[in-house]
Symmetry: C2
Subunit: 124 residues, 2 copies
């Protein structure tokens, strides 16, 4: 079986896609550490950087100094709790409502971001 990704790279990517809480590099590192005891934090950063470059993952926001990531490429918005740092997906029917505006002023839109910052149910 041919594998395009190294073991570690695949594990990091899977974590990015399967987790719904939009983890930071450190959170991914800590999740994988038990299964990959020799994993290095630098490897997590390096691969995240690669995924972003390749358009396989996006930055959601930076909370408390940590960049939070998203491996889900299906268009959606986020509810971001500034208290506890939880991030929840919101799927719109009409995300396209704001489509046009990006093309103004000769700007080439590559990614559209809609986020709601506030307090989640537990923190409000």
């Amino acid at each position: 079986m041919r594998r395009n990704f190294s073991t570690k790279r695949q594990a990091i990517y899977d974590m990015l896609v399967s987790r719904k809480d939009h983890p930071s590099a450190k959170q991914i590192y800590e999740s994988l550490k038990p299964s990959y005891p020799d994993l290095s934090l630098g490897t997590v950063y390096r691969n995240i950087s690669l995924f972003k470059q390749e358009g396989m993952a996006d930055s959601v926001c930076t909370l408390k100094g940590e960049e939070r990531l998203d491996g889900n490429k299906k268009p959606h918005a986020h509810l971001i709790c500034t208290e506890c740092g939880s991030i929840t997906d919101v799927f719109f029917d009409r995300l396209d409502v704001i489509e046009d505006k990006g093309e103004m002023e000769g700007f080439l839109t590559e990614r559209k971001v809609i986020s709601f910052y506030g307090k989640c149910r537990n923190c409000r």
Copy 2:
């Protein structure tokens, strides 16, 4: 004449409100340094932090490791160039289209963010 803000604090705030390019702390510091030779970078950070806390300014995004700020409280979106870091305001007529979704799941929305990431006219 009563002044609520110290001289430096006022200058930092004015910079945040008048500049349309959403500067980082360092950029504000460098802009003010000629007029205030004894200004300290720590003071800029300290006051930005205060303004955010008081809801007088918001974080737009983090580009190349630097948080970019906005002192304009009028609802608007941003065109963010990931190449050169330029940020342009976009004013919507119907920013309210996406209003409802934030209140889902018991979430209390305090701030709504719409951003378009891509390449500006010069960089595309």
